[in-house]
């Protein structure tokens, strides 16, 4: 040991250190914590399962049928970007930017891609239809696409409205507005999102946006309130009863200021099923 060259000595110590610390921090520590957690907090340590293995109270679910159509008797969760929706093995967000407003229109040999704005508009329209309210939002066309123009010297194009859809405005600052043709490159035009005259939207923000995890177990109180009449109707129970259950499954801000009030959708739906 003493006769080792000087440059090698720290490496031997390093190998020993990595090995020893791996055993201590990588095995003894987590296994001890696991043991204690399993004893002290068995439920939460194993995923807070609820409803007789119907899911985890912490993990959101889709309440849609096999075709992806919302099941009316259930409160609906937020849109999800995790896999095909609420897939815990593929968590994550859409990662689309705040100015992602131009779609790639589907065409021959081109699957197309919806911009975040169009997704928001489409979700808003769908939710509005489901709940029987207006799905209109600023920057959205009545058809549920992003109201975005590409402006050229001689004309303008509503790029998110594929032909033959009629553009949401006929003219823009005197320029004729055309519908978008798939496969045409509109990059040279100036991008102009058009706010339109929609007032405060009836569909709340969380209903039209995907969460960060894709597993958000909550919806806002506003979105729950929006859905309550439909659920009551579908289930044939009193709206008041549904509202009471919503209130029971609403977690307010801790200490009055930590976090935002949120309604746990799975637990609410379980409670509805039970009642």
């Amino acid at each position: 040991m003493q006769r080792l060259p000087a440059w090698l000595r720290p490496h031997l110590a390093a190998i020993r250190a990595v090995a020893v610390l791996t055993v201590l921090l990588g095995l003894i520590y987590p296994l001890t914590v696991t043991g204690l957690a399993q004893v002290l907090f068995h439920g939460s340590a194993n995923g807070s399962l609820v409803g007789g293995d119907a899911g985890s109270a912490l993990i959101g679910q889709s309440f849609t049928d096999a075709r992806g159509v919302p099941v009316g008797k259930y409160f609906q969760s937020r849109p999800s970007a995790a896999g095909d929706g609420y897939d815990p093995t593929a968590t994550g967000a859409s990662n689309l930017g705040p100015e992602d407003v131009v779609d790639i229109l589907p065409g021959p040999g081109e699957p197309g891609r919806q911009s975040l704005l169009t997704r928001v508009c489409a979700r808003s329209k769908a939710a509005g239809e489901l709940e029987g309210v207006s799905g209109a939002r600023p920057y959205c066309t009545p058809g549920g696409a992003g109201a975005v123009l590409k402006v050229f010297p001689g004309h303008a194009v509503s790029v998110n409205q594929p032909c033959p859809t009629v553009p949401f405005v006929a003219t823009y600052q005197g320029l004729r507005v055309e519908c978008g043709r798939p496969g045409v490159d509109y990059a040279a035009g100036r991008t102009v999102p058009v706010r339109g005259d929609a007032g405060a939207p009836a569909v709340p923000a969380d209903a039209v946006t995907a969460s960060g995890s894709g597993l958000d177990p909550h919806i806002s109180v506003a979105y729950a309130d929006l859905q309550a009449p439909r659920v009551a109707r579908e289930r044939g129970i009193a709206l008041e009863r549904v509202r009471t259950l919503v209130a029971e499954h609403t977690a307010g801000r801790v200490l009055g200021f930590i976090g935002e009030p949120a309604v746990n959708v799975l637990e609410l739906n379980l409670a509805l099923d039970r009642s």
């Binding site: 720290p10 490496h11 110590a13 390093a14 190998i15 250190a17 610390l21 791996t22 921090l25 990588g26 520590y29 987590p30 914590v33 696991t34 957690a37 399993q38 939460s44 340590a45 194993n46 995923g47 807070s48 399962l49 409803g51 293995d53 899911g55 993990i59 679910q61 889709s62 309440f63 096999a66 937020r78 609420y86 815990p88 968590t91 994550g92 967000a93 859409s94 990662n95 689309l96 930017g97 705040p98 100015e99 992602d100 704005l117 920057y139 992003g146 991008t191 923000a205 969460s211 960060g212 995890s213 597993l215 958000d216 801000r253 801790v254 009055g256 200021f257 930590i258 976090g259 935002e260």
Partner: protein, 553 residues
């Protein structure tokens, strides 16, 4: 209460908690790193390591030990990933691809915890526990060791030694991180974070489908991911995932874990140099920058000035309902200010200026308060540069804490200051220069540019968060970002240790009326100003073509 008011109270409560905690924790750290006695467990560890714990090391010896330890760590993490299918607790995962394994190994060893993989579909439980979580501990301990070595350089006089790396490593781990992590892990489990060794568990959903509920030793890793300002999530969704951050109050607790040590170290610094007020000044610089950044990020996110947030009515894309916009923005600011890189919301979908804040936080050089240890030494290097320019203006050879800032110190500090911006900008330029690398962008236009700029900023500053739309698990990005992480971590460390050595050798100059006082608000303001101006000047062109262009459109 409005969401804004609640968000403000949330920030205020964190400030108070950090203020209450920094003193006892800072004093504890002071005792840990200055005590002459080894406890029984440590003596046992030193015997196992076969190191002489009572000898002090010169800076080159200290650095050699640190580098050797890091090289071996990279090999160990790489090996465990590549062999995970042949080891127990693999949860059925195949071996990790070579370039991803390399990237992940350097990422965790450098305290970056950039993830070019998705945890739930790539890493087995053993890899998470014995490779990744172990590095969460020791990379943080290494960061603290380097910071303490630099502080010793200021505190000592006419000494060739800056401490003993093995002792600093072991003490930081055993006396600080391990006990805090142990308690923190149990708190998190109580809040709903899972801690088991199961595989995935199929449940039947209410509408007749199935859902795979994942298992794993999450809490034990989650806590050190935050406490050590590492940031590498067990899951791809990181701290947005309900199993990592289930409740609103765990969100608060996780932020406190992130901020605890970085904000306590200035106190340790003050104690070690024998002037607590010097620690206060450093703390004030960190605090001012951090608070300004948190408030600005909140303002931008709550303001929601961009087309999609305006259409939505709030910047809710990529954010969880339970956290809301404000607590998410606070987390986003804190995680980028601290070199943590954990996220509870996805920065790629932030408003242009909100997203720019997360980038700017990292561009500050991770100093406000920065990563565990790394923040303090980065801040001290900036203080050295500030002292130099300001010191000239009072007509004396600049000195900081009685140590003269001469050519050698400025050379080391300048190189330190050069390293990270050069890595960020050169890396970004190389990526932007090639169409196939640009193809990794998810978003187009200035936002796509921001994704790449963010990636290199994050890697070179050892943060690890991302504008996650960028597809980075390609060989080019894995290698390039890996190199940025390595150079962004170890070049500064070597420079800091050399600086520590050069300072320790000096005998201190006594303070007088002609000495620039470095504990007054004036100096605090000056360091803040120098930092902001230098960072702005360096990165403004790149930011102008990314988030600023997007935000002003």
């Amino acid at each position: 209460m409005s969401a804004t008011a609640a968000g403000a109270l949330f920030v205020a409560s964190l400030v108070i908690a950090v203020a209450l905690l920094h003193r006892p924790l800072g004093d504890h750290l002071y005792r840990v790193y200055t005590s002459a006695r080894h406890n029984a467990a440590e003596r046992g560890l030193y015997r196992l390591l076969a190191v002489r714990a009572d000898t002090e090391q010169s800076w080159p010896v200290y650095a050699r030990g640190l580098l050797a330890f890091s090289v071996i760590s990279v090999l160990a993490v790489y090996g465990l990933q590549r062999l995970q299918d042949r080891l127990p607790l693999s949860a059925g995962m195949p071996p990790v691809t070579g370039h991803i394994a390399w990237n992940t190994a350097v990422s965790f060893v450098t305290n970056t915890n950039w993830q070019s993989y998705s945890g739930e579909s790539t890493m087995g439980h053993l890899t998470q526990m014995a490779a990744l979580a172990v590095q969460n501990f020791v990379s943080a301990a290494v960061g603290m060791a380097v910071a303490i070595a630099l502080v010793r350089g200021f505190a000592r006089s006419r000494s060739g030694a800056i401490g003993n790396f093995w002792v600093d490593l072991v003490r930081g781990t055993v006396r600080v991180l391990l006990p805090m992590a142990f308690i923190g892990a149990l708190v998190l489990v109580a809040g709903g974070v899972i801690q088991n060794l199961s595989g995935t568990h199929e449940v039947g959903t209410l509408t007749g489908g199935t859902q795979a509920i994942t298992g794993g030793p999450v809490a034990s890793q989650e806590v050190i991911k935050l406490l050590g300002t590492n940031g590498g999530g067990f899951y791809n969704a990181n701290s947005a995932h309900p199993f990592e951050n289930p409740a609103t109050w765990t969100n608060w607790f996780e932020l406190l874990l992130i901020l605890a040590i970085p904000f306590a170290l200035p106190r340790t610094f003050g104690r070690m140099v024998g002037q607590v007020r010097q620690g206060h000044a450093i703390l004030a610089v960190m605090g001012v920058l951090a608070l300004a950044s948190v408030l600005l990020t909140n303002a931008f996110e709550l303001g929601g000035h961009a087309t999609v947030p305006r259409a939505v009515g709030a910047a809710m894309e990529g954010k969880e309902v339970r956290f809301g916009v404000s607590d998410s923005a606070t987390f986003g600011a804190v995680t980028t200010l601290t070199s943590t890189g954990a996220v509870n919301s996805f920065h790629d979908s932030y408003t242009p200026f909100g997203g720019m804040m997360t980038m700017a936080n990292m561009m500050l050089g991770e100093i406000a308060p920065g990563g565990v240890g790394a923040g303090l030494y980065g801040m001290l290097v900036l203080a050295v540069i500030t002292v130099f320019v300001a010191g000239l203006m009072v007509g004396r050879t600049p000195e900081y804490l009685g140590k003269k800032i001469g050519p050698r110190q400025i050379k080391l500090a300048s190189l330190y200051f050069l390293t990270t911006p050069a890595l960020v900008l050169i890396g970004t330029a190389f990526a932007m220069g090639s169409p196939e690398r640009r193809a990794s962008m998810l978003n187009s236009g200035p936002h796509g540019l921001s994704e790449i700029l963010y990636a290199f900023t994050s890697a070179a500053n050892n943060n690890g968060s991302a504008f996650a739309g960028l597809t980075v698990n390609t060989p080019w990005y894995d290698v390039a970002l890996g190199l940025c992480m390595v150079f962004g971590r170890f070049l500064p460390i070597i420079l800091v240790l050399a600086l520590a050595g050069s300072l320790a050798r000096q005998s201190p100059v006594p303070e007088g009326a002609g000495t620039l006082p470095t504990h007054r608000p004036q100096f605090v303001g000056l360091v803040v100003g120098v930092t902001v101006v230098l960072v702005a000047l360096t990165f403004l062109p790149a930011l102008a073509l990314g988030p600023i262009a997007e935000g002003l459109s």
